[in-house]
């Protein structure tokens, strides 16, 4: 059976060039970067080269002034940013501002901080997923110690007006963290132009290996490490560095930087054609997220009258891999907080599908994908009470 992956948001394969760059660091250059002897030399150099490449991807030409701290994941980087600044205690106050559609690695730690007495303000978003700069301005007060708002949303793809949002916080000298995990490598990012104080990204979203994330920290921002021990990563992340994964992250960042525009156009072209084909052939589809301000690889639709896990399972049987924001696909049995925040009605949130394009997505597969999706949607609609209710109402309206 032919397999078509439309879930590259969950994982990307490691690029062969990336793997090639990593391999010597498992065997030949296995040394510890902290060693004083020759064996530490190569890994130490590779680590700094990777740091420079990751920096370049987010617009840092001159490393040195700022910090890039390698972590094991974007989730860890998000935790280091928020808990790190809170526990450093350099800023007095108890308010932290975020958005309602952040990743769980932001929202869940903020919920813990709320229990400890911090005041967490979750800014709402409009129906396309945008945070309002005006609402951010209103939420800031002299107790505010941090703002954390993502660059773009992985689920619905919406890209925030980060520069504008940062300017509002900076005016009041409040540090701004942004989670760029879904965006890095797909849209141009320049931390200096954006003005952010901290930025999160990870390698496994851009054809690098799992197990390597990074936090950019602007000079002057004081953090307390989550993991204490040795003075690796400038004292902000103890533990022997995962050199092969970091080297892979660096190479993936280099490739992403070099080919950013081409890659971005390529996935956007596939995504746009897929969207057009699906909306043409399948009735009662709804687009989730912003129509234009969205990540190039991201398509999120709701298939009205049917439930997402059933769609996912049926498509899985056809060799098409997608993900859904329905409650049945989540372990917690809650539908997506992102779809909830954009005001998606429950029956549409339950039928949501994230179709995440990747570099191996092929336009010639679109007719096949459309055909299978159409079959699966009508099959499930035929057994849906909501669909039959709709048909009955349409019939009644026609008779009136």
């Amino acid at each position: 059976m032919k397999e078509i992956n439309l879930d590259y948001a969950a994982a990307t394969p490691v690029d062969e060039k990336v793997l090639e760059a990593m391999l010597p660091f498992f065997t030949e250059h296995y040394g510890n970067p902290s060693s004083g002897h020759n064996l530490g030399e190569k890994p130490r150099q590779a680590l700094e080269e990777a740091r420079a490449e990751v920096g370049r991807l987010i617009g840092i030409e001159e490393p040195g002034k700022n910090k890039i701290i390698f972590t094991a994941s974007a989730s860890e980087a998000n935790n280091l940013a928020i808990k790190g600044i809170v526990t450093a205690g350099k800023r007095r106050g108890n308010r932290i501002i975020t958005s309602a559609i952040e990743h769980f690695s932001i929202l869940n730690q903020l919920r813990s901080l709320e229990k400890e007495g911090y005041e967490i303000v979750k800014l709402p978003v409009d129906e396309s997923g945008l945070v309002s700069p005006g609402q951010l301005k209103e939420a800031l007060n002299d107790q505010t110690i941090l703002v954390s708002i993502q660059v773009a949303n992985t689920e619905i793809g919406t890209i925030q007006p980060i520069k504008e949002l940062v300017a509002i916080a900076t005016e009041q000298e409040i540090p701004f963290h942004s989670d760029a995990t879904a965006a890095a490598g797909w849209i141009p990012l320049n931390v200096e132009a954006l003005g952010v104080d901290m930025l999160t990204l990870a390698g496994d979203q851009l054809y690098g290996p799992k197990g390597a994330g990074a936090l950019f920290v602007k000079r002057g921002i004081r953090l307390r490490p989550l993991i204490e021990g040795g003075i690796q990563e400038q004292g902000l992340r103890a533990g022997t560095e995962n050199v092969p994964a970091i080297v892979g992250f660096g190479e993936a960042a280099r490739l992403a930087y070099t080919h950013l525009q081409k890659r971005s156009e390529q996935v956007a072209s596939f995504r746009d054609k897929l969207k057009e084909s699906l909306f043409k052939e399948i009735p009662h589809l709804h687009l989730n997220g912003h129509p234009e301000k969205r990540l190039p690889w991201n398509l999120n639709i709701s298939v009205e009258f049917v439930e997402g896990e059933a769609l996912l399972m049926r498509l899985n049987m056809e060799g098409i891999y997608v993900s859904s924001g329905s409650s049945c696909t989540s372990q917690a049995l809650k539908s997506s907080h992102v779809l909830d925040a954009i005001g998606s009605p429950p029956e549409l949130a339950q039928g949501s599908l994230l179709l995440a394009a990747g570099l191996k997505s092929r336009e010639e597969d679109i007719p096949g994908i459309t055909e299978k999706m159409s079959e699966v949607a009508s099959l499930l609609r035929k057994m849906s009470p909501l669909y039959h209710q709709y048909l009955k109402e349409a019939q009644n309206n026609a008779n009136v």
């Binding site: 049917v306 049945c328 339950q350 057994m383 009470p385």
Partner: protein
């Protein structure tokens, strides 16, 4: 995707008895889109037996498999027998359900019982 038994996958892939019986004697609807699952059972009763049973289901793989299994278990049974079908039995017949999917099996038996009670109430009203 949760780990489903072979039986669940069979009923999900080839659900039995989908639809709505004509001139239903009893209708049982449970659930709503907020919780993610919705089932509507319709039954035809003859000589105190469930002569025909069909359903529409909006829901996950487990919900669809449960509806299908309930329809098979209830068909041909007397109303008293059908009322004794428990959620637990449905789950057992399906070779078990993942822990967080047990509520789907609850909906299945509930919808069936609701349809039977609906029939009984209508009969009571006729008398």
């Amino acid at each position: 995707m949760p780990m489903y038994s072979e039986k669940v996958m069979d009923h999900f892939t080839n659900p039995r008895n989908i639809g709505e019986v004509d001139d239903a004697d009893g209708v049982g609807e449970v659930g709503n889109p907020v919780c993610g699952d919705m089932m509507k059972f319709t039954i035809k009763v003859k000589d105190n037996r469930i002569e025909d049973i069909k359903y529409f289901t909006f829901g996950c793989g487990a919900a669809i498999a449960v509806s299908s299994m309930v329809s098979e278990m209830a068909r041909g049974k007397t109303l008293e027998e059908a009322l004794k079908i428990t959620n637990k039995q449905v789950a057992e017949e399906l070779g078990g359900l993942p822990g967080n999917k047990m509520h789907c099996s609850n909906l299945g038996a509930d919808a069936l019982h609701k349809a039977i009670h609906d029939y009984m109430e209508k009969q009571g009203a006729k008398k």
